[in-house]
């Protein structure tokens, strides 16, 4: 069965809101793969939540991106931040052909199955008419024809630039409506019930907004747009308790709704062994290939310095642990736990660390172009630069036979 693909974006400070959205999705939908765009949410959160969601066939993918990508984008409202532009990164970072993007100030209150079989009818994006500015679709719920979008070269980059240079009143929403115009199609109002407009409808005497709200009898997605959020200490709009219902849902209860909850699957991560890399540079040869091929090996990567976003983003893999500006106690620990040292970083090598590894008589593996060819150590093994598969095989045999 194909998983339903959903994308969210949030920074760490907004995590409890995004988690509430996720809980609501999974309370009503099984077999979902959720890409959570972020640059600062700790790995521990992802590891833990996946121990629950995998019991009901769903997955939360840590989709890290470099925040500098959005550095030129601006926002006008205090309750928004640059993360609102992260949805533009979907075509660049998600491969699947149909993606449902959801804001994190909304909750899903029914099954979304129908959305995953809707015909795009040649359109690139489907959305719901914004109840407050009806010429636009609201950008909080977007069904993306990602296959079509990905055919436009550099689309993510173009949208981000468009936003930075035009600085439009409705941010990402204006950009989408401006940019795609006739390629936009419409979804029923129930898929983006903009309850957050409750208070504006009243205070600004907008009977038109009320008409929209009153039309929807059976909402599927409840969107707390505007600043009147249900998670504020106090709020004025309706359906506050709906949000708190999902917020307060306990993960075991969500699993229990579909399956028998297995507490034994909630545990500290287990690895078959630990590989250590000490680096002064972000460039580490074939790191991604190794990390993906060896999920049961823990990769400890340490540096005396800060780390560049390129390296930091490796934390999206649950078997990668990063130790920037590492301190002695930690370093001692990493050296003494290492089963294998990977001398695959470019640039300067830290002689002192490597000497301590050698003193422990554990294997060191390297690639030709980054190897220290003067090494006089009988357990130092150099592979050709394209022999990644061979190195993986070697690592497996070392770990299995240790």
């Amino acid at each position: 069965m194909d998983k339903k693909i959903i994308a969210l974006s949030a920074n760490y400070a907004y995590l409890d809101k995004a988690e509430t959205t996720i809980k609501s999705i999974l309370w009503h939908n099984q077999f979902v793969k959720i890409y959570l765009f972020n640059y600062d949410i700790p790995q521990e959160w992802f590891v833990n939540i996946n121990q629950y969601t995998k019991q009901i066939g769903s997955q939360i993918v840590d989709t890290k991106f470099d925040p500098n990508l959005l550095k030129d984008n601006r926002v006008h409202w205090f309750y928004l931040n640059k993360m609102t532009y992260a949805r533009f990164l979907i075509p660049a970072m998600i491969k699947e052909s149909r993606v449902l993007y959801l804001d994190s100030d909304l909750v899903v209150v029914q099954s979304l199955d129908e959305l995953f079989s809707v015909d795009f009818a040649g359109k690139k994006i489907l959305g719901v008419t914004d109840y407050g500015s009806t010429k636009e679709i609201n950008a909080g719920v977007l069904l993306l024809n990602n296959k079509g979008l990905r055919q436009i070269p550099h689309l993510s980059q173009k949208l981000i630039q468009y936003a930075a240079t035009h600085n439009l009143p409705n941010h990402d929403q204006s950009v989408i409506n401006d940019y795609f115009k006739n390629e936009i199609g419409h979804l029923p109002l129930a898929y983006n019930y903009m309850i957050g407009l409750d208070t504006s409808a009243y205070w600004f005497h907008r009977p038109d907004i009320r008409t929209f709200l009153d039309q929807v009898k059976n909402p599927k997605i409840i969107h707390y747009a505007t600043q009147d959020k249900p998670f504020n200490t106090l709020s004025s709009g309706r359906m506050r308790s709906t949000w708190w219902f999902y917020h307060n849902l306990c993960w075991p209860a969500i699993v229990q709704k579909y399956s028998i909850f297995d507490l034994k699957q909630i545990e500290p991560q287990k690895f078959k062994g630990e590989a250590f890399i000490f680096t002064a540079q972000a460039e580490i040869d074939n790191l991604q290939a190794l990390v993906v091929a060896l999920p049961e090996l823990r990769f400890n990567i340490a540096a005396y310095t800060e780390m560049a976003p390129k390296l930091v983003n490796f934390i999206r893999y649950p078997n990668v642990k990063l130790y920037k500006t590492v301190i002695d106690k930690k370093l001692n620990c990493l050296i003494s736990n290492a089963d294998i040292y990977l001398d695959i970083n470019e640039g300067l090598k830290e002689e002192k660390v490597i000497n301590r590894i050698k003193a422990r008589h554990i294997p060191i593996l390297s690639f030709e172009s980054v190897a220290d060819h003067k090494q006089n150590y009988d357990k130092y093994r150099v592979f050709k630069d394209d022999q990644v598969k061979q190195m993986i095989k070697k690592i497996k045999s070392i770990i299995d036979n240790r």
Partner: protein, 401 residues
């Protein structure tokens, strides 16, 4: 019962909840006062539905943010909430209080602190590993009975806190004010693992020796900026923090007793009363709320409301609706079983007229009542007859349903 005090703002709730879970993982009969200005009521109601199952309680201790406004420190990771601990003698009635920071976890039973004999001591704390002349203010066992004897103590401490040159925020104030009156607790009650990073980069053998000398930490304190909840951190024991963070409340209950999921759910009330006000003065409101926990009090206003009406959110049967409008206002009116005409000052006549159309009973005190209510179901009580009104409400809501 152990009494513990914490202080946090809404933005720090994830951390505070982790501290709470760690405390209650190892200690069950605990009453935790959480000093705050802005944490939503829903959070308190929910967590209590879990922890009450094994005898613990989290008390929503709201205080006026004006009390600590503009207090600051030279460290950007310490904000004005750090000074909230000085409000303990003012806000907490219990004789013995253990104050804990929210960047720490409790990793063991700590009920022996209940038995420590204060004799004449006012405060017990652990010396700061980084400065042996100071006590660290993150863990304080407070002889609150003695501290409360000075009725102005909280105010005095807050006045001293206004000094912007304080080297170490609340900790400097504490050590200066109580100089010679703080007595040591064993170092394991405040294991300052946050110094890991400083110790290494500043080559402090003293700190390293100190950290190494403590074998069985009971309370682990992630002080300095190097926090385990940061995206990436440097010090040890990060995984311990995340263990408590990731602990589900149902599992926490299960540690002490059989978890009963039927106790988790929306609140239930015998009935709802409605008040629409234009002023903060509402006669005997707090007494009625306390007296009638089974009755939900909905208080609404067209405007923002002053602190006293916000503070009452600490009672789970009270809900304030500032800037009320549209659908929410209609719902308040439609859900009302009773209207309490107990707000002083001018009335919002058109709202009162809408309520009257529902033919529900009105109760008022003499000073708050309409001169001519023009409504046949309108009962007026003498100003001091709070009990009589409470009984009447009980009677109406039980009988009327």
């Amino acid at each position: 019962m152990q009494v513990i005090a914490l202080a946090a703002n809404y933005g720090y709730l994830r951390q505070t909840e982790t501290t709470i879970k760690s405390i209650l993982y190892h200690n069950s009969l605990v009453k935790i006062y959480l000093l705050n200005c802005d944490i939503p009521q829903e959070w308190f109601i929910n967590i209590n539905q879990y922890v009450n199952q094994f005898g613990a309680k989290i008390v929503d201790t709201k205080f006026n943010p004006e009390l600590i406004k503009n207090l600051n420190s030279r460290w950007d990771y310490i904000n004005e909430m750090a000074y909230a601990r000085f409000l303990i003698p003012k806000l907490i009635p219990d004789d013995r209080v253990l104050y804990l920071d929210s960047d720490l976890i409790v990793d063991d039973q700590i009920d022996e602190l209940q038995a420590v004999d204060f004799k004449d001591k006012e405060i017990m704390a652990v010396p700061d590993y980084g400065d042996a002349n100071q006590f660290n203010s993150g863990v304080m066992l407070m002889n609150n009975q003695k501290l409360k004897q000075d009725g102005n103590l909280s105010q005095k401490l807050l006045s001293l806190s206004a000094d912007s040159k304080l080297d170490n925020g609340d900790q400097s104030v504490l050590n200066a004010f109580f100089k010679g009156k703080i007595f040591p607790l064993p170092a394991q009650y405040n294991y300052q693992v946050g110094y890991d990073y400083n110790a290494f980069w500043h080559h402090s053998q003293y700190l390293l020796d100190k950290l190494n000398s403590i074998k069985h930490p009971k309370i682990i304190h992630y002080l300095t900026f190097d926090k385990p909840f940061n995206f990436i951190s440097h010090g040890r024991m990060r995984e311990k923090w995340w263990f408590y963070h990731n602990l589900e409340l149902a599992q926490l209950v299960q540690k002490h007793t059989v978890f009963n999921s039927l106790k988790i759910g929306p609140q239930k009330f015998k009935g709802q009363v409605f008040i629409f006000t234009r002023r903060v003065e509402i006669e005997h409101l707090e007494e009625l709320i306390k007296d009638l926990p089974d009755v939900r009090f909905n208080v609404a206003a067209y405007t923002n409301v002053a602190w006293p009406l916000l503070e009452l959110q600490k009672y789970f049967n009270y809900r304030i609706y500032p800037n009320v409008a549209g659908y929410t206002l209609h719902k308040c009116i439609a859900d009302a079983d009773l209207y309490l005409d107990i707000n002083l000052g001018a009335k919002q006549d058109e709202i009162v007229d809408q309520v009257k159309k529902r033919h529900i009973p009105f109760l008022a005190f003499k000073d708050s009542a309409y001169q001519q209510p023009n409504y046949d179901n309108y009962t007026i009580f003498a100003n001091d007859q709070v009990q009589a009104m409470a009984s009447k409400i009980k009677q109406l809501l039980v009988q009327g349903k």
